[in-house]
Assembly symmetry: C2
Homo-oligomer: 230 residues x 2
DNA sequence: GTCTATAGGTTGATAGAC
DNA sequence: GTCTATCAACCTATAGAC
């Protein structure tokens, strides 16, 4: 335990404040959109005055970009982790369903950051949007490969355009924040419906009608995982 | 031809200006979101100064609410019109696919108003949102009935929750404005993919594998229809 | 690290001339 | 109908005390 170690572990107080600011910004991004998110409101939610916010961040845009950046990263890491948890004999469609379910869970209940990143995409200023697209490259490749593997395994309706199908389904889950109400149905229920829908949509007429095999939801939906460090 | 008739037909000059304002607002709503849409920018796009805008509308919110209102109405009327054009022997799934395709076409190329209405839903102030939900009641009933008819006809995977399936698929098409690029694929192509995806998703294992029947895209996609009067 | 006070710009909206 | 001129309110951001 060197002195450096101790210092690294104990710069917690200011990190907590910084995190409160980001939490507030993520919440507001979801409710008000990019242009509607005001620094003064962030400060109020974080129980601070405006100048304290500027002690931690250079500008309003710097706060919002960090929220979006974290949200994208959390979404990607979570999908990767869930895919690793699958049994090695999982089919390509099993893996695709698990990935969409992981993403949906993130958007709906796990991370306001991810929900904010998805909902504000179209509103970001040009330079921020360019940097986001740059960072999302690995994520985009992952989704493309997931589908491509399914196509090559013959598990996916060959009449579908893979890119359009992928984007439509990602849109379906990203949009869910607009209408999902936990009071109307549990998270488990909506994840099950989403997986069934994704499996049907991609398999198409290739789906076997025998119940309990291809149509059964895959991969146990274990409750929640520890929130990864920001 | 009474004097009233003449007057009604010729109050065009101011109607055209009013329409330019609404067009500008719809465009900005899509690009900047609800809170990001500024009256000064609406005025510039409409080639006016700000006070001229206030000659036509009582407030900024009145402009934006009218855009959303028109967008919702156009989407609903267009789906209804397309459903009427279907042959009487169209299956429930045929009707559902045609409805989603009509909605998607509206969002992507026909109406910036509809795209704006869909994208800003979650950002509207509480009172505006309440009035919108009130106006959307007929539209919501239409979509619910379309799916319900398919369930009762045995054409839809009984393991799907009808409401969640409907909302996921509407989300998929509403989100398409975020990623669709006409340079990467024609409107006809994306409409075909969307219909294939919707049909697969809802039919599930019930889909027959015989090509050209249940899996074939339904209802000719006639190019474009005359823009309805605002 | 957090505050009070404030600078400088933009916004929604109106008054009143033409 | 459309404009110039203007207002109060609010915004992002900073200076400087503690």
């Amino acid at each position: 335990m060197t002195k450096a170690d101790g210092a690294e572990r104990r710069e917690r107080k200011s990190d907590k404040t910084r995190r409160r600011i980001l939490d507030a910004a993520a919440d507001l991004l979801n409710r008000k959109g990019f242009d509607g998110t005001r620094v003064s409101e962030i400060a109020t939610l974080a129980e601070l005055r405006v100048p304290a916010v500027y002690y931690y961040f250079d500008s309003r845009e710097a706060i919002l970009e960090e929220v979006v950046n974290i949200g994208d990263r959390l979404a990607h890491e979570n999908v990767v982790r869930r895919l690793k948890e699958l049994p090695p004999d999982a089919s390509a469609l099993d893996r695709i369903c698990a990935a969409f379910a992981a993403h949906l869970e993130m958007v709906l209940t796990e991370s306001a950051y991810t929900a904010a990143a998805m909902r504000t995409m179209g509103q970001l200023p040009a330079d921020m949007r360019a940097r986001q697209l740059d960072r999302q490259r690995a994520s985009g490749r992952m989704w493309r490969d997931l589908i491509q593997t399914g196509v090559e395994a013959g598990e996916i309706d060959p009449e579908l355009d893979p890119r359009a199908a992928r984007m439509f389904l990602l849109g379906a889950v990203n949009w869910a924040t607009e209408w999902w109400n936990p009071a109307r149905g549990s998270l488990e229920e909506i994840l099950a419906t989403a997986q069934r829908l994704v499996r049907n949509a991609l398999a198409g007429p290739l789906a076997t009608a025998s119940p309990g095999t291809a149509a059964a939801p895959p991969a146990a939906l274990t409750p929640v995982f520890a929130p990864p460090p920001l």
